[in-house]
Amino acid sequence: MIIYLKNIWETYATVFEGMAITFSYLLQRPITVQYPDRMKESVPETLPEKYRGRLMVDTELCTACGLCAKACPIDVIEMKGGRAEGKKGLRLIYFNIYHGKCMYCNLCVEACPAEDGEEDEHHTAIYFKKNFEGSSYTLNGLVEQFIPPDEARRRLKESEEIAAKRAAAAAETTKNSEAKQESDKPKDGGDV
């Protein structure tokens, strides 16, 4: 009998307490914010410094070494570097990122050796932008080409030409050196 009454009392008391708590929330401000149109400040500004948003590449800084593409576990990055006129190292021919596959693991950023030493938005060539809005109506729209296709084709052609030229030059030099060697040989032999 005591248990019987105790059950009733406990039910009422705990329900009362619970209702007091839920009521107290009616007197508090909701913590949710209305994204995106009624925000006081834009969301990327509120994000921490190293937030991993959208994967981007600084095509100027990139040395086309290909370490990021190698570090990626799921082949998100497809890139190629080639020679260019009047530039010492490699230049990007194309650099494509498939955002639909990217899992924001940061491995490519850590692999990137190209640093500009400045403490601005990014200091490596491949970096995460704070922007996280990347929806697209088609799956194909998630593929981002950082070098436009026309430009990429032009660069590819150019690098192929240079490569061909260099190959020719190399062939020339080897031929020359061989010829030189040929011509030198009797001389040397003569000397000996």
Partner: protein, 179 residues
């Protein structure tokens, strides 16, 4: 890691067949390697003998033993099933390993001793194709019942389509290739 070498030696001595050996004795995880026919005896001893009191089955794992030959082809050497048990008293852990042949790998089940053994065994059966004799319920667990092959075998080839559904997806990157 508290993998207990003394317990393993004790188990080795108490086994009736003397073919068992302790491998990796100097590493962090010593393993007792026993023959497939002895598994029930060993596990029964571990489970029931108060000296061991191994009431807790941590894991049953399996793997396909292979060796890559010089020409790149695989030499299939059979299967390994690894049992890890813990004591209910002080949680010291031991590992028991069984090697099975490549053709028709089969081993006695232990799912009457451990409530969880059935699912672990089913997983090994599903992914590696090791048969557990006298198991109460040996069905595939992760893959559909009509799936072909056992994926964790090193010579596994994925079927091209399953019930008319292709198992691969086109790569969106293909469409923008300029080469």
């Amino acid at each position: 890691m508290n993998f207990a070498l003394p317990l393993l030696e004790k188990l080795k001595q108490e086994m009736t067949s003397k073919t068992s050996e302790i491998i990796q004795a100097d590493s962090k995880m010593p393993i007792l390697k026993i023959e497939a026919k002895d598994i029930r005896e060993a596990v029964k001893k571990l489970h029931d003998d108060p000296a061991f009191d191994m009431k807790y089955l941590n894991c049953i794992s399996g793997l396909h033993l292979t060796q890559t030959k010089e020409d790149g082809t695989l030499d299939l050497l059979g299967f390994e099933v690894l049992y890890v048990f813990s004591s209910a008293r002080d949680f010291s852990t031991i590992a028991v390993r069984v090697d099975l042949p490549e053709k028709n790998p089969a081993i006695d089940t232990i799912d009457d001793l451990y409530g969880s053994a059935n699912w672990f065994e089913r997983e090994v059966y599903d992914l590696l194709g090791v048969n557990f004799i006298n198991s109460s319920d040996l069905r595939r667990i992760m893959l559909p019942q009509d799936w072909e092959g056992h994926p964790l075998r090193k010579d596994y080839k994925e079927q091209a389509s399953y019930n008319g559904m292709p198992t691969t997806r086109p790569n969106e990157m293909e469409s923008i290739r300029i080469e």
